[in-house]
């Protein structure tokens, strides 16, 4: 029965190591948990504050959220996501809507669109995409400031039929060698504006929690 003892010994050593490594991971997890949550919120807040700088509102954007359901026709979210209300005093002066362009060159492009209560764009940020590096990825503010061209635009400026890239007869630049990506972002932004117009009372007045 020597083999049985050896199995028992091996099993015990394995279990011992499993326990030790689990404790190490658990301890690291617990001791970094607070810091990680802080980082996630900071990263989120940084993005939101880029669209609505601190001097335009007096609420905590990360806290003041509402839910938008998946697959609404205009925002086309893959799964329910958070939108943010921007308040000055008691008044809602703007919202930040998550939106998804499902017609990117390679997969979905996820973006945040900040819209003021007067219907103008406060800012657009692409938050996740898999577009071609060097071509389509210019929609990312880190690569180029193209996306700043949306600021202060609204549904009437340019007129709806010109809310697309120049190649399609619109007002917005495409990139050399990449039309699909900017087109997807322009159209997604226009749709977000239409969504805000359609749901204006819910977004800016009654303050519904789920849309």
């Amino acid at each position: 029965m020597k083999w049985l003892a050896s199995i028992g010994l091996s099993g015990t050593v394995l279990a011992l190591f499993a326990a030790i490594t689990s404790i190490i991971i658990g301890w690291t997890y617990l001791s970094t948990k607070a810091q990680i949550e802080l980082q996630v919120r900071r990263a989120e807040a940084r993005q939101l504050l880029e669209i609505f700088p601190p001097d335009t509102h007096d609420n905590d954007l990360v806290e003041d959220t509402f839910e938008i359901k998946a697959d609404t026709p205009l925002l086309a979210l893959r799964q329910a996501a958070r939108g943010y209300r921007v308040r000055l005093g008691t008044e809602v002066v703007g919202v930040i809507l998550p939106t998804t362009a499902r017609d990117g060159y390679s997969g979905d492009i996820r973006a945040l669109v900040g819209i003021r209560s007067d219907g103008s764009v406060a800012g657009v940020r692409v938050v996740a995409h898999k577009e071609t590096p060097g071509l389509g990825d210019k929609v990312d503010l880190r690569k180029s400031d193209w996306v700043l061209g949306f600021t202060d635009r609204r549904l009437t400026d340019p007129l709806p039929n010109r809310w697309t890239v120049k190649k399609d007869g619109g007002d917005f630049d495409q990139f050399t060698g990449a039309t699909v990506t900017p087109r997807a972002v322009v159209v997604a932004t226009r749709r977000a504006l239409e969504y805000a117009e359609l749901h204006a009372s819910n977004l800016f007045e009654t303050g519904a929690d789920v849309l």
């Binding site: 010994l9 050593v13 490594t21 970094t32 990680i36 060097g134 071509l135």
Partner: protein, 237 residues
């Protein structure tokens, strides 16, 4: 640890048995994250840290664990080290964590780490194992960063972009534009570029090696004794 083993380990890790250029281990992250210098540096640092921790731990437990169960134990140690690294990076370098994404947990499956644990750390005392982990990490990381720099330069005409992700806001202006491009040389940044540049680096290393060998032969007539370590490229002996 004597000076000769120290020197030997250094030469092995950095050149003779370089994990990326000779053993060709860990190619997946090597090819995937080296599109820019900052990504390469981030993964290099994480891999180096995990290598040192795992080599140290494996060397410490080498007398306790029997041969039959050594591999699962090593894997547990490595997985724990990687998970801890991932959590730490998430806590203190969140943006880089987001960029490296899946390649951070995948360090667990990087063959260099298990390879060094099994081939070296389990047979050697603590200082040597620790140093071997460090120098192998430097050898791997060095190639990673070199690849990142070459690809970033070819693809964007500049190097050291976005270094603030690693070094804080003061590094924002480290980007160094060497030539300006209207059309980036895309292939360099896309995955095929990684293969091409890695291939060139290996070829370069081999040609340096063979010219060194030729020079050596001119001085000493007897043939060199072959390396007994795992080699994938170069002469197999």
């Amino acid at each position: 640890m004597s000076n000769t083993t120290l020197r030997q380990l250094t030469v092995n890790g950095l050149w003779k048995n370089n994990p990326a250029l000779v053993q060709l281990l860990g190619l997946c992250p090597l090819l995937a994250v080296t599109a820019s210098t900052v990504n390469a540096l981030g993964l290099a640092a994480a891999t180096l840290f995990v290598l040192v921790v795992s080599n140290t731990a494996v060397s410490l437990i080498r007398t306790v664990v029997s041969d039959t169960i050594r591999l699962p134990v090593f894997v547990m140690i490595i997985a724990a080290a990687v998970t801890a690294t991932e959590l730490l990076m998430q806590a203190y370098s969140y943006e880089l964590y987001q960029i490296l994404g899946i390649f951070l947990p995948l360090i667990t499956t990087n063959c260099i780490i298990l390879g060094r644990a099994d081939a070296f750390a389990r047979k050697n005392p603590l200082p040597a194992a620790c140093y071997d982990g460090f120098i192998m990490g430097v050898g791997f990381g060095g190639v990673l960063v070199l690849l990142g720099m070459i690809r970033e330069l070819l693809g964007t005409g500049a190097i050291f972009a976005d270094m603030h992700l690693l070094f804080g806001p003061s590094a924002q202006h480290w980007r160094w534009e060497i030539f300006s491009v209207d059309y980036p040389f895309l292939v360099a940044i896309l995955p095929p570029g990684a293969f091409l540049v890695t291939g060139c680096l290996i070829a370069l290393k081999n040609s340096v090696d063979s010219s060194l060998e030729r020079r050596l032969r001119a001085h000493t007539p007897e043939p060199l004794s072959g390396s007994k370590r795992v080699r994938v490229t170069g002469t197999v002996s």
